[in-house]
C-alpha cells in the first residue's frame, strides 16, 4: 500500500492550485435561503408527517406521448416501431400507481438495486441512520421485505432470476467478494481471488468480473457451485460485464489498450468474443441490456467523452446483434436503465421523472412526491409483462425511498 500512497500523492499533487476566478458565493443569500429552510423544517416537524405518507400512493393515467412536449409526428417513424417479438404479445400498460416499499428496521432511506424478470422479487439496500458503509440488503417478495446478511461493506445484490437466486457482492478485507443468495443462504462464488457478480439468467448462468489489481477481467460462473471461467479477451483489454442473455451471451463494455473510448463487446453462447459495431463514426455504444438478439443501450458522442463533460446528445439505441444494425429511439427522451423482452424501456427523464416507453408512446410514471431534482424519480427495473416497474423516488424531504410502480 505504501507505493500506492506514493502514487496517489504524486498524481493528485498535479491538481493542487488555487482558484483563479472571483468568488460568486453569496453569504447573504445563504442567510436568506437558510432562514427559509429553517422555517420549512419547523413546519414539517409540526404537521408534515401525515401529509408525507398520504401522497405516497397516487394514481395517474398514462398518456402516450404526453411526456415529449414536442410534435408527435416529428421524428423517425421506424424508430418507434417495436422490435420483432418472438414471444406472445403483451399489451402495453395504460395506468400506473406508485407505492413506497416498506423498509425493514425503520431505516430512513433505501433504494432498489435489481429485480427478477417477473418483478415478484425486488432487490435493494437500506441506508441506516449515520451509516458507516455497511448496508442491510433487502429482498422484497411481492412487496414484503426481508433482510439478507451479505458480509462485508458496500454490499448489494444486483440481479435475480425467477427461481429466486440472486447475485451481488460485498467488500471484504482483501477486496470485493462475489456472492450468490439461494435457499435463504449467502455463499461465496468460487474461482476468483476477488470480484463481483453482476447478473444471472434463467438457466442460472452468472456473470461478473474478477478484480485483480490493477485490471478487471470478465468471468462466467456456469452455475453457483462451479468455479469461474475467464472470458477470452484481446490482449491488454480490460473492462466490465453488463448483462447476460438467456442463451448465455455476455454483453460487456471494455477498454482496448491505447484506445480513447470504451468499446461494446459480446461473447456468444459458444464463448467466442467480438467487438460490436459503433452507432456511427463519432459515437460509441454503452449497452445495458440484452434481450434475445437485441442489445439496448445509449449512443454517446465520442467528442463529449473526450471532453469529460455531460453529453446532451446521448440517444437511446437498439442494436440488432444478428445484422449489426442500430435503430435510434429518438422518441425515448430519457436515459433508460432497463429493458424487457417486449423492448419496453424504463428510466428517467431530465426533468427528474421516472418514465417508461412501452409500445408506441412515452409515458411518465407518477412521482412519489416531487421532481425537484433531476434524479428525484428513477425507474430501474421493468418486469417481462411490463406490469411491475421498480426504482427509487425522493420523498418530501428529498430522502430516497424504494418504490414500485404497479401498472395496469
Amino acid at each position: 500500500m505504501e507505493s500506492e500512497e506514493r502514487y496517489g500523492v504524486a498524481v493528485l499533487r498535479a491538481l493542487d492550485v488555487e482558484p483563479t476566478t472571483a468568488s460568486r458565493v453569496d453569504v447573504s443569500r445563504a442567510v436568506s435561503d437558510g432562514r427559509r429552510r429553517r422555517l420549512i423544517r419547523r413546519w414539517a416537524r409540526i404537521g408534515g408527517c401525515a401529509a408525507v405518507t398520504a401522497v405516497a400512493v397516487a394514481s395517474v393515467p398514462l398518456v402516450a406521448g404526453a411526456l415529449r412536449g414536442e410534435d408527435p409526428t416529428v421524428g423517425d417513424s421506424i424508430a418507434a416501431t417495436p422490435p420483432p417479438a418472438t414471444q406472445p404479445a403483451v399489451t402495453p400498460p395504460t395506468a400506473c400507481t406508485v407505492s413506497r416499499l416498506p423498509i425493514p428496521g425503520g431505516h430512513p432511506m433505501a433504494l432498489v438495486t435489481g429485480a427478477d424478470p417477473t418483478g415478484r422479487l425486488l432487490l435493494g439496500r437500506a441506508y441506516p441512520e449515520g451509516n458507516k458503509g455497511r448496508y442491510p440488503v433487502v429482498i422484497w417478495e411481492n412487496g414484503v421485505p426481508r433482510t439478507v446478511d451479505v458480509p462485508g461493506a458496500d454490499q448489494a445484490l444486483r440481479d435475480a432470476n425467477t427461481a429466486g437466486v440472486a447475485v451481488g457482492s460485498g467488500w471484504g478485507d482483501a477486496g470485493p467478494v462475489p456472492y450468490v443468495y439461494r435457499d435463504g443462504k449467502v455463499s461465496v462464488l468460487p474461482g476468483v481471488p476477488t470480484g463481483e457478480a453482476v447478473a444471472i439468467n434463467e438457466a442460472g448462468v452468472i456473470i461478473g468480473q474478477s478484480s485483480g489489481s490493477p485490471d478487471s477481467a470478465p468471468v462466467v460462473w456456469r452455475s453457483a457451485t462451479e468455479p469461474a471461467t475467464y472470458l477470452p479477451m484481446p490482449s491488454g483489454w480490460t473492462g466490465n460485464v453488463v448483462a447476460v442473455g438467456e442463451d448465455g451471451s455476455v454483453l460487456a463494455l471494455l477498454r482496448a489498450a491505447g484506445r480513447k473510448v470504451p468499446q461494446a463487446y459480446l461473447w456468444g453462447p459458444d464463448g467466442r468474443g467480438r467487438t460490436l459495431p459503433k452507432p456511427s463514426e463519432n459515437e460509441y455504444f454503452r449497452p445495458y441490456s440484452i434481450q434475445r438478439n437485441l442489445a439496448y443501450g445509449v449512443a454517446y458522442s465520442e467528442e463529449a467523452f473526450a471532453m469529460g463533460g455531460r453529453d446532451r446528445s446521448a440517444t437511446p439505441v437498439r442494436l440488432d446483434l444478428t445484422t449489426g444494425q442500430y435503430t435510434r429511439l429518438p422518441d425515448v427522451p430519457m436515459i433508460p436503465s432497463d429493458a424487457n423482452g417486449s423492448g419496453w424501456l424504463v428510466g428517467s427523464n431530465e426533468r427528474g421523472q421516472a418514465a417508461m416507453s412501452a409500445g408506441k408512446g412515452m409515458i411518465t410514471l407518477p412521482d412519489l412526491d416531487n421532481h425537484k431534482s433531476s434524479t428525484a424519480n428513477i425507474a430501474s427495473t421493468v418486469s417481462e409483462d411490463g406490469r411491475i416497474v421498480a426504482g427509487q423516488a425522493d420523498d418530501a424531504n428529498e430522502v430516497i425511498q424504494p418504490v414500485v410502480w404497479n401498472c395496469q
Binding site: Y7, L15, R29, D154, P214
Partner: protein, 169 residues
C-alpha cells in the same frame, strides 16, 4: 440575540470562504460549480448553525458538510443513474499532449463522486483513512476500497504518464 447569532455565522463563513472554495475546486475541478457547492454547503451550515457552532471542531464540521454536498447521496445509486449527474461514471481516456494537471483532472472527473472525494482528501489534504471515513460517513474499509478502485482507474486511464509522475521527484 438573533442578530448576534447571525453575525457570528456571517463572520465565520466570510473568513472561511477562501479555504472552502479551494476544497470545492479541488473536489470538482470547476470553479463555477465549486461556487455552487460552497453556496449550498454554507446554506446548510446556516440551517444547522445551532449545532455547528457548538461543535468542538467547527472547521472539520464545515468541511464534512461541503464534501457531503459534493458527493450527494444520490450518486450512490447505480452507475446508470449517474449518467444524469454531471460527473460521468466512465474513466476519461486522456490524450497525450495535454499538461499533467488537465490530464489528472480529466481522469479524476471520470470517477464516481465518492471516489474523487476520497482521493482528494487522502492525497491532497493528507487526511488519514479514519478522518476520511468520518467525513464521508462510511467505514474505513469503504474508504480503502474507494481508494483502491479510484487509484486503479487513474492508473488505467493515465497509464505511463502517471507512473512517470510518481517517479519524478
Amino acid at each position: 440575540m438573533k442578530d448576534a447569532w447571525e453575525q457570528e455565522y456571517v463572520e465565520y463563513v466570510t473568513a472561511r470562504l477562501p479555504a472552502l472554495r479551494r476544497l470545492a475546486c479541488l473536489l470538482c475541478g470547476d470553479e463555477h460549480r465549486a461556487d455552487d457547492i460552497v453556496q449550498d454547503a454554507i446554506t446548510k451550515l446556516y440551517v444547522h448553525w445551532d449545532k455547528a457552532r457548538a461543535a468542538t471542531n467547527l472547521d472539520a464540521y464545515v468541511r464534512t458538510v461541503l464534501v457531503r454536498t459534493f458527493v450527494d447521496e444520490k450518486r450512490l445509486a447505480w452507475s446508470r443513474v449517474r449518467l444524469f449527474a454531471s460527473a460521468p461514471d466512465r474513466p476519461n481516456r486522456v490524450d497525450i499532449g495535454v499538461d499533467d494537471r488537465t490530464a489528472v483532472r480529466a481522469a479524476l472527473s471520470g470517477l464516481p463522486a465518492r471516489q474523487q472525494a476520497v482521493l482528494v482528501l487522502r492525497f491532497l489534504y493528507d487526511l488519514r483513512v479514519a478522518e476520511v471515513s468520518e467525513i464521508l460517513g462510511c467505514s474505513e474499509g469503504t474508504v480503502k476500497s474507494q481508494t483502491y478502485h479510484g487509484l486503479a482507474t487513474l492508473r488505467q486511464v493515465l497509464g505511463d504518464r502517471s507512473n512517470a509522475m510518481a517517479w519524478t521527484e
